[in-house]
Symmetry: C2
Subunit: 201 residues, 2 copies
DNA sequence: TCTAAAATAGGAACACGTTCCACTTTGGTT
DNA sequence: AACCAAAGTGGAACGTGTTCCTATTTTAGA
């Protein structure tokens, strides 16, 4: 869209557009935080972001896109934080467990928000593939970094496979918790067991 | 509800009620099979099942309940079939892989239906906990039976944990496939890798 | 500075899940 | 056989995601 000066893959447009986008995502997170998935109503988001409904749909073509994009932004924050302050621990298993539990605890401290973002993620269809993929990459990279903190560039296929399996379990556990099928403690257990099964060294 | 003669946990009511329930689930599966999640519209289900909209809601309090109940019925069929013709294979890993691939292939032969049922399952909230739990039990029992075909009654906690992790991976893989993020081949790969990581003996 | 194109505002309209209501039918009890 | 409570019918109505349209404002380029 903008004629020059696009930094990379992402072209965020003018400052005004970046600002609108930010306002929309902020409004989304606020509403989700207060009332979960159902409270994120497109008219409410538009109003709170001080934007017309049509504009909201120009930026995000559906409620699911909107929520998954919000998830992506939150997740990028988490990933940055984790990169700045890496987890400690003697074994890969310990570090991964610590990293996941830290993240999980963060999410569980805002249950409504987590519910909204997780449900959106799980409900997303093919049209959201791009955003979903990015979130998946972030998760995998977070996990492999916890496995090999010192920039090992020797990631075997097995390493990546393990990270992906752990990611799957974590997502399932999160869904279980979000939908009230498992307690926070059980969620932690579930992750810990899986990691120990996969990373025994 | 019925005064006497309730066999067990499930009380399915009179023959007419069983028949209505069956007609509704049949209609659901037909519509899902043709057009996926979006095509399962409550008015359309009611019409095809020859039932009033209010009656449909009396039997199934929401679209999600309806679809998850349909999933449950389908899954029970699968589980029975698998019980009658157990998978063969020398190791637990082989048998589990075969069982999952067989099931996956069955689901992939009706993509729209699978999409509808899987999305409903992932979107379900706490109010569907009962049905979800039953499906989870079916899946775990299918997996442990593949792991120990000859009625081993010595299921350790680790065995169950492994089965659960495999189930999680399978679900994630299925979601990935349903939402067009991964191909059928990749889905099989993903499952196979996970099982081999977890069941190396 | 002026102008055409793009973006936004504001809001009506539509679709589908869900609820509700008035009326009718059914099935078991007396 | 008459009766009553439960179940079912048919359809209106409501909420929220989504689409669409016109008028206005902003932006980029000549």
């Amino acid at each position: 869209m903008s004629t020059a000066n696009s930094l990379a893959v992402e072209d965020l447009g003018s400052a005004a557009q970046r600002d609108r986008r930010k306002r929309i995502l902020d409004a989304t997170i606020q509403l989700a935080s207060q009332g979960g998935f159902d409270a994120v109503q497109m008219r409410a988001v538009a109003e709170r972001a001080d934007v017309a409904l049509g504009t909201l749909y120009r930026y995000f073509p559906s409620k699911i896109h909107l929520l998954v994009s919000a998830l992506q932004r939150e997740f990028e924050r988490t990933e940055t934080a984790m990169r700045e302050r890496p987890v400690e621990g003697d074994t890969a298993a310990e570090r991964v467990i610590t990293a996941l539990k830290r993240t999980t605890r963060g999410m569980q401290s805002d249950p409504q928000l987590t519910e909204a973002l997780t449900r959106a993620f799980m409900f997303a269809d093919a049209s959201v593939a791009t955003e979903i993929h990015q979130v998946g990459m972030l998760l995998t990279s977070m996990l492999t970094r916890a496995m090999y903190p010192e920039g090992h560039d020797e990631l075997t296929e097995e390493d990546v496979a393990i990270a992906r399996v752990i990611g799957d379990v974590w997502l399932s556990a999160l869904v279980g918790w979000v939908t009230g099928r498992t307690s926070a403690a059980e969620t932690g257990q579930q992750i810990e067991v899986a990691v120990r099964l996969l990373l025994r060294d």
